[in-house]
């Protein structure tokens, strides 16, 4: 398949816990995942299998121990496991978006600016970026009075909507979604589903963890099962 936007080859991730006597915790071994533009792949597998670890590796948040993570960036192929920090930042700014389960709140910054920030970082004029942010927050049923407030005091569902708006506003070619609808009510779940479908229609490659099977079935084209490492290989490692 030549149309991939994101793929892993033999991805290996083991945690070494130096404070626990150097215990080694193998999580991913030989993961080969390939995601095409316009496709949504849902990660499957039991709790603890390593779905979130894989997601964090794909974003460069966890360092891979072996294998490669390839992404199409500016028309070229970049190996995220070998890219230096500056190149990873550039890839994140332009190509690779991430909606995490929880918003890492920045004190004192209004929700509107949190959503507009990645747009400004990509070169959009601040006023235009704020206008887009406002439209997207409104679509996610965030009343205008909340736009000017920092999300620190918001409910989980409100924070998640700020998070979604921030992740979807730039239109990244590759989008990672970690439980994007976990704390949303039905109406906002529908908005999130629509946003994911629109991103796919615009050509985004989407990888997601969806515990809500209804949402998963509405957006995912296929499942990719992350196999838990058997205990035997754990002790052998």
């Amino acid at each position: 398949m030549s149309g991939w936007a994101l793929r892993t080859e033999g991805l290996v991730k083991t945690f070494t816990l130096h404070l626990q006597g150097g215990a080694r915790l193998p999580v991913l071994y030989g993961v080969d995942l390939s995601v095409a533009s316009g496709e949504c792949v849902a990660l499957a597998g039991p709790s603890g299998a390593g779905k979130s670890t894989l997601m964090r590796c794909l974003y460069g948040n966890y360092g891979a121990e072996g294998g490669r993570i390839l992404i199409r960036h500016r028309g070229e192929t970049v190996d995220l496991t070998a890219a230096d920090a500056r190149l990873v930042r550039e890839v994140r700014r332009e190509t690779l978006g991430h909606v995490s389960q929880f918003l890492r709140v920045i004190p004192r910054v209004p929700s509107l600016d949190i959503v507009a920030e990645p747009l400004v970082a990509r070169g959009m004029a601040p006023d235009a970026a704020r206008a887009e942010a406002r439209a997207l927050l409104s679509r996610l049923n965030m009343p205008p009075a909340l736009h000017a407030l920092p999300p620190a005091t918001f409910s989980g569902g409100e924070q998640q909507r700020v998070n979604l708006a921030r992740g979807f506003a730039p239109g990244y070619p590759v989008l990672l979604l970690d439980e994007p609808t976990a704390s949303l009510d039905a109406a906002n779940r529908d908005v999130a589903v629509a946003l994911i479908r629109e991103a796919k229609a615009a050509g985004a490659a989407v990888v997601g963890i969806f515990h809500d099977t209804d949402v998963r079935d509405r957006v995912a084209d296929r499942l990719f099962t992350v196999e838990p490492r058997p205990e035997a290989s754990r002790s052998a490692a």
């Binding site: 130096h18 404070l19 948040n61 920090a85 930042r89």
Partner: protein
């Protein structure tokens, strides 16, 4: 991505008697990048900042600064006059103690305005207007312009120091524990202010801190130091969320959750 580093150091060594303050340290900073040097007291992080900014000469190694004209300046060979010129124009310093960076007997407006005069501004009205604008940007009421900073609170003094430093639009700013001595609520406000200004102005910043939360909020990239050596470096969230070195794992696991 093709642009050259603004600061580049390699092979740095520095000893204080039998103690290695810097042991084979190399570091590069690119324009627009915030790099935090993280470590505990005695790790060598402040020594590194002093060597990089030309304040202390290393026993071995080189530091190069690429100036606005693209000329590579060897920081420890360039001479005092060249360093003074850089400190006045292209570099800025934010000290932990605002009293080290301010003139307490000069008005708040004067503290900001004299930096502009040092780089050639002469129009009194223009200087006063720029000073008022910068006081506003750091959230100090311009009505306090003629007051002396010795009567300001610690947080206000620190914000004034930042205005004084940034008014000349330096290209590279050295910060040593800029929120060090402040109350937590004052810290949050200051961090947010620094974060916004650095992004707006596209500054390169070298920040020394022992505070992981400060590093996470401000820095794009982290350099973790211990006993004079760099034990780990990389993207801030990668280093803090998936620390590889034993010492970084200890640092990250020792943070008290709020």
């Amino acid at each position: 991505m093709s642009d050259a580093p603004i600061l580049e150091a390699s092979g740095l060594h520095l000893r204080f008697g039998s103690v290695a303050a810097l042991d084979e340290v190399a570091l590069r900073v690119w324009p627009g990048e915030v790099v935090a040097i993280l470590g505990e007291s005695g790790s060598g992080k402040t020594s590194l900042l002093r060597v990089l900014s030309g304040t202390v000469a290393p026993d071995a190694g080189e530091v190069f600064y690429r100036d606005a004209a693209g000329v590579l300046v060897p920081v420890h060979v360039a001479g005092e006059a060249a360093l003074r010129r850089l400190a006045r124009t292209e570099w800025g310093f934010v000290h932990q103690n605002p009293r080290d960076g301010l003139r307490l007997g000069v008005s708040a407006g004067g503290n900001v305005g004299e930096r502009l005069m040092a780089v050639g501004a002469r129009h009194y009205g223009g200087i006063r207007a720029a000073a008022a604008e910068w006081l506003r940007r750091v959230e100090i009421d311009p009505a306090r312009m003629d007051d002396l900073p010795r009567d300001f609170s610690g947080g206000m003094q620190q914000r004034l120091q930042i205005a004084r430093t940034l008014v000349t639009r330096p290209r590279l700013v050295f910060m040593d524990e800029p929120t060090g001595g402040l109350d937590v609520s004052v810290q949050a406000r200051l961090l947010d202010l620094i974060r916004a200004l650095v992004a707006d102005l596209g500054l390169a910043v070298l920040l020394v801190t022992h505070d992981i939360a400060v590093a996470r909020l401000l820095a794009h990239r982290l350099v973790v130091m211990r006993r004079g050596r760099v034990v780990e470096h990389g993207l801030t969230d990668r280093v803090l969320d998936d620390p590889q070195h034993e010492y970084t794992q200890l640092l990250v696991s020792s943070v008290l959750a709020a």
